[in-house]
Symmetry: C2
Subunit: 192 residues, 2 copies
Amino acid sequence: MKNVLFNFISKYISLTEDEKNAIDSLDMFRSVKKGTILLEEGQKSKESYFVLKGCLRAYYIIDGEEKTTAFYTEMDALTPHCVVNKAPSQYFISCTEDSIILISNSDIEVEINSKFPKFDTMCRMLSEELLAKERINFDEFKTSSPEQRYLNLIQKRPDLIQRVPQHQLASYLGIKPQSLSRLRARIMEKKS
Amino acid sequence: MKNVLFNFISKYISLTEDEKNAIDSLDMFRSVKKGTILLEEGQKSKESYFVLKGCLRAYYIIDGEEKTTAFYTEMDALTPHCVVNKAPSQYFISCTEDSIILISNSDIEVEINSKFPKFDTMCRMLSEELLAKERINFDEFKTSSPEQRYLNLIQKRPDLIQRVPQHQLASYLGIKPQSLSRLRARIMEKKS
DNA sequence: CGTATTTATTAACTTTAGTGAACGAATTTT
DNA sequence: AAAATTCGTTCACTAAAGTTAATAAATACG
């Protein structure tokens, strides 16, 4: 698992042995059981997550209903809004599978970043990249119908359709579970 | 206008006179006329933009139709996907008003960032902030109906409704111009 | 200035999503 | 193992968005 992390980092910066040891000594790896809630609405957390194995889900509870807005899987990084904003979280984050994740604390990050400016650069590159990706994603969502979004998801993240319950996928696609069922039936119809 | 920029920067880092002069000497301020296209589909640009005054619009052309996905106004920063990705742009960026903007080049940014690590930190903070905001925005979009999105826009960016043509707003809200017209009529109906 | 084009609205009709309810299947709880 | 809950699908119905077309208003252009 350590190597998975170092491989990921090496896409952005190169690390010396010293730096690798520094990261190692932070002891950020965590095994979390399916169903564990990492962040709750109203909480002021300072934790960011990096998924090495498994799947995290972000969801709101609006009028008593769960609204899933994001899934984070292998190699996905997530800094919740409340960490950046220093305000109570508006959403929950839970594990949809037994997962191995990296948890970092923003206070420690500040320390590390000032000790190793390289990390600052890496974080900058990573969040610029994630921002660009997020925008493209949003654009695709805006410019397509629920059916197109579903077909697009099959192409881009086929694993999600297997590993995540249908009703969570539905709100991820911005629709109700019944509509997703219907839409899937419609697609099957067309194929035959 | 210079002061507007320095005020913005001061939210993230503090600058010495030397650093201010360094920025100044880059001569990045540009006046652009309404209608100017800053980035075209297929282009490999290295330019990022910061809006001091005016409004930029990002749009795709899909099946011959313009699909507006974003507006950038005063104090908004924008690094197009193609700059991060080093790939041809999928969308256009144009000025919807006479504007004063800052144009920076990614090659120069790399230089500046290595000379003044502070800038690296600022860029990291800025893009982390923008990423968190973008996600919240996307979440709101996903979890609400076109009508709610429109009402939300009135609250959050009332200026846009004034300064931007209706049909561009429509695709920004993920719907057709006719639907926006109808939806507006429906809201008026309810109020009375 | 008048003409052409673009923009916004309205209407009729079609398609698709939301809603509430019912049902069996799967999963969890006891 | 039985009971309870959750999940996915289907159905009938309602509400809202897409589509096509017509028209009026605003804007741009020669």
